[in-house]
Amino acid sequence: MIFPLLMFILLSVSYIWGKTSETRHFSSLARREEETKHHPFLAEQLKYFYKPVRFIGIASSSVVMGGGLFRHFWAYLRNIVGGHVAAYESLQERARREAILRIKEAHPHADYFLNAKIETINVRWTMVEVIVWATVIYLEPENADTL
């Protein structure tokens, strides 16, 4: 009797906590994406720029996220009948968007992020890690002597 009750409490706490933190995280992502939308984050390579390149380097970031007990329980049930496991899709999406934002926020004055790569792995248990890396490019400012 104690075990089902304990599971029910854990699942309830996990659901309420997970739902609240996910909603908060999505609204935070939307706000920060709006703030950094002017930084082109591209999966392609550009060979020519309209101004000389001042600095070129590599930028990377990673996020490890745990899904929570309720999400795993729900995914387990979903796996029985098959189909989209939306609970995990949103977890992966949050981790990916967060990792991209961290790169952008670490280089707020960068002009381009080129040839961006995104990789997702399972670190441990049901935690996912998203790793993002890209070439960061700073162009010469408008009033630079080199122009």
Binding site: W17, S21, Y48, V64, G66, N115, M127, E129, A134
Partner: protein
């Protein structure tokens, strides 16, 4: 040392290739952090201790790759790729590799 994920650096020409350079590191946190991560995983959200671990692992792997490139005589590493693999519970390998080259300004 120029590090990029692209094949050509604007304003530079590649004059010599030194081949593949790699850097890797396997790191783990202590058992207390693992226990905390386990509980955090139950309720969900970011596991910051693991994020920091992988962050420092990546920096170290990159530094090892750069060391190898410097030894080869390169001044840039292009087309850099990163990879992470979970080896055993709590330990992850971070692997960084790229092509070491010598570049000069056009």
């Amino acid at each position: 040392m120029i590090l990029t994920t692209i094949e050509n650096v604007p304003g530079y020409t590649i004059i010599e290739h030194y081949g593949l350079v790699v850097g890797s590191t396997v790191q783990t946190k202590n058992v207390f952090v693992d226990i905390m991560a386990f509980f955090k995983n139950l309720i969900g959200g970011e596991i910051q201790s693991y994020s920091q671990l992988l962050e420092s692992s990546r920096e170290e792997a990159t530094a090892r790759m750069v060391e190898q490139a410097i030894e080869a005589g390169a001044n840039a590493v292009i087309n850099i790729r990163m990879s992470t693999v979970s080896i055993i519970g709590g330990a992850a390998e971070v692997f960084v590799y790229g092509t070491a080259v010598k570049m000069i300004k056009k």
